[in-house]
Amino acid sequence: MLLRLPRSLHYPITVTSLLKREGDQVERDEPIFWYIYETTVEEGDGLGNKVQVKRKFPTRFESPTDGELSEWKISKGDVITEPIDVVEIEEPCAHEVQFGGLCAECGKDMTEATYNTEIMDSTRAPIQMSHDNTTLTVSEKEAARVEEDAKRRLLASRRLSLVVDLDQTIIHATVDPTVGEWKEDKDNPNYEALRGVRQFQLIDDGPGMHGCWYYIKLRPGLEEFLEKVAVSYELHIYTMGTRAYAQNIADIIDPSRKLFGDRILSRDESGSLTAKNLQRLFPVDTKMVVIIDDRGDVWRWSPNLIKVSPYDFFVGIGDINSSFLPKKQDIGATNKLIKEAKEKEAKEHHSNGKAAKQESESEVSALQQLVTMGGGDNPGLLHEQTNEQEETILHQVEDRPLLQKQKELDAEDAPSVESSESASADESQDSNKHRHHLLEDHDRELFQLQDRLERVHAQFFDEYDKKRSHALGGRVAALRGERTFSKDKDVDLKLVPDIKDIMPLFKQGVLGGVVVVFSGVLPLGTDLQNADISLWAKSFGVVIASKINARTTHLVAGRNRTAKVREATRYPNIKIVTTQWLLDSLVNWQHLDEDPYLLPVHPDDRGEPLSPASRERIDSPWVSSSEELPGTSVWYEDLDDESDSEMFKSTGLNESSHIGYDENEQAAVHDELKEFLGSDDESESDNEALTEDKSTTNKKRKRGKGADGEAVDESAEDDGDDESDPHGSRLSQRIKRSYERSTGLREVATASSSEMGETHPEHVRPSEPDEEPDAENPGTSHIRDVEHESPGDDDDDELEREMLAAFDDEPDDNAEGEDDN
């Protein structure tokens, strides 16, 4: 360890002697060198007066650590004025792995602190690495080493790491005792659906939950999914449930622990109760990690995340461990159910609709969510959350929401049989089986998910192989002129591609180029760009806009007949689709065909001509909703026409207003330019035609700068034809070019220009009346000046010839440039 002097010493200090030689053993708190420092002290002079005197004090410096002294960085007599490295001490143990405040390697107490302790030893190993133990911490070095080993192993077996969430991702859990009753009751309409539901009892899981039975529904296809995925991924569980809960679930989904081993992280070890952190499991780098979770916000929309649609089997139960997570913004999660139900029976639609309504009440603004996430680990919050969860569970146990819902469903069934038999023919045939069952099991997510994970895996290793064969090929070819490719043997960690690059790239392409406007999807007052659905969509390359305009490609409407729907019908290119289209596209990683999702537009809304009255009616609601986000126009990379005109207004101009100067001004500016740029200007004119980029937005900037009267700016104004060609971007380009140029031409040109500087500005124009038609081409006139006014300058003869040669080409170029306008 390199010892650095502490800040607390009284600098400057002078080293008077070194007590240890290189190679000596040093004990902790043993003095290793003497030094003296100077300070002012108050002393009595023997007459009762107190005097301030400067005194020198000798002091010993004590080693804060023990080990073998390997090298002195200072020598006797050195004056040290600031904290520097003084000595290198080779420690017998670097305390890289610590367990419960002890160094796991040497058994020393790491929490010991003395007067001499600068840095606690326990800070040397700050990283918690193991899944199931928080008392073990390691240093960064050790963590990197362990992780590197793991990566090597994974690469050799061509696998990645997959962090799996439990609740609502691969299982759905409830504590509603109704499930237990239904499970036993063969006559219950939900009996079939509940067949695969597993259960376990947690004896002491938190206060107030003694002996609570948990009912676990595995997501359809889970076993197969895990088995298949385990081939290409090493699986980790990361859940916000308790340790006991996680263990029990793991026992159910992986009884032999072949898949997960003991790589299970629960909220007991998570370290944060509100957010999940990949660094907890992979402290050094997350290049090879993929996450699947139904909540994007808890991962802060990490690029490693594949968000899955939440599995909602027990209708209206949600995530039983969600009280530990930030409040959920629920958008359309239940819509899917609604859609399925719609095809089946209108009754179920109704009950689900209610569920959706209930959940939407729990929607919370993004700000509040941030506050919750930032809440950290304060005990008050923990207490509150524990209480909340307890309440949730008690609520489920006592109120039995499922039973209530089924009752509701049954109650609605009774009259519906009489009234409409046509609704479902097969149902009315058998009145026993007629009772609608609440619980449906249609979920197909895992099958798609498996496919996606395999795609990511393939992509990753394609990239890796490509890089590696490239590197190998390059190196070997350079050495031997032939190419060898040894698979999986020599793993090169430097070539590992980053999943954080691969996956977003993959996803960005899915809905790239889609510009979406929401209507009736997010509640008013939600931050449009940071809502869950927006963040999710954005990770797939979608651009979220607040207003409908020509760029919009899709209007995602949560409701029909909104003002925006009406607005959108006027653009033939905008597809008006339901929220489901977006959700399904995001879930499937595909730009799905919009046709099945098209929103049936009410005939009244279509192509409505905008009378002033109707316009007002239309405008008022959606203007208010879109104006709430003034910053959203930033989302357009390049400004469209609309914003252009706004800009003009802000500068007091309109698009057709005259930009530039009148002739007098121009002449003056012209001369100033000559002074400034000299004949260099001539060579510029070649570029002129090329540099006339269209960028109307620059008009304004140019105008503003020109008004400042800066010679630099005006020079640019002048050399062009202001009225017809108001493109100011040339200004910066030209100046830059003129500075970049380092040919001899420029130096010579400046010499001649200094001569010209003496020419009186007013003088220029009268002296060259024939220039008048050429007024728009000051570069030309400029050259002629040179010719006329310094004909006898022998030194410049060469230059002039060059200039003339260039000049001959010029008029053509310029003409072209102007034609372009």
């Binding site: 792995v97 367990f99 002890l102 390697e105 929490t111 193991s130 793991a150 003991d262």
Partner: protein, 169 residues
């Protein structure tokens, strides 16, 4: 190391329990409260006998009877350098977690003989020398304690198996 230690403890008995079975009740309560307790310094393994139960005193405010009991208990205080037998609870790349009775002992990779290597690809993962020594979850180990650190309600210890006669049993 195990000790027979004499300690005192105050136990209060609710009035509803006053009666002939009181002594048994007190014994039961004492056992329930003391056995298995970790003071941070030692573990109470078992209460041997009560030396003196003392006289019960009724507390005026709530009517509970308070007994001050002197008892002898077997305690275990782990020491540095002590050799114990332990059961492996989990193995990690960084080392082995074991439980020696109530004491959790961690064996770092450095304190495992170098011929016993980390083998993560087996199910369950293990440390093995690819011969007769296999350390996985559930294996019995003999280890030597390198350091002990008392915590509030627990004791953490560091162990080694990198010495003669230590390792899997």
């Amino acid at each position: 190391m195990f000790f027979l230690k004499e300690e005192t403890k105050t136990i209060s008995v609710h009035p509803s329990n006053f009666g002939p079975e009181m002594r048994n009740l007190i014994v039961g309560q004492l056992n329930a409260e003391e056995e298995g307790r970790c003071t941070g310094d030692h573990f109470v393994i078992s209460v041997m006998d009560m030396v003196d139960v003392g006289e019960g005193r009724v507390i005026p405010s709530n009517g509970n009877a308070e007994y001050t009991i002197k008892y002898r208990a077997i305690i275990w205080k782990p020491f540095r350098g002590e050799t114990v037998d332990a059961i492996v609870t989990s193995v990690k790349a960084t080392g082995i977690f074991t439980m020696a009775g109530p004491l959790s002992v961690f064996i770092a990779r450095k304190n495992i003989p170098s011929d016993i290597k980390w083998e993560p690809n087996t199910v369950p993962p293990q440390y093995t020398d690819h011969a007769d020594q296999v350390i996985e979850r559930g294996t019995s180990l003999r280890l030597k304690i390198l350091g002990v650190k008392p915590d509030v309600m627990a004791i953490n210890a560091i162990g080694t198996i990198k010495e003669d006669f230590l390792g899997p049993l």
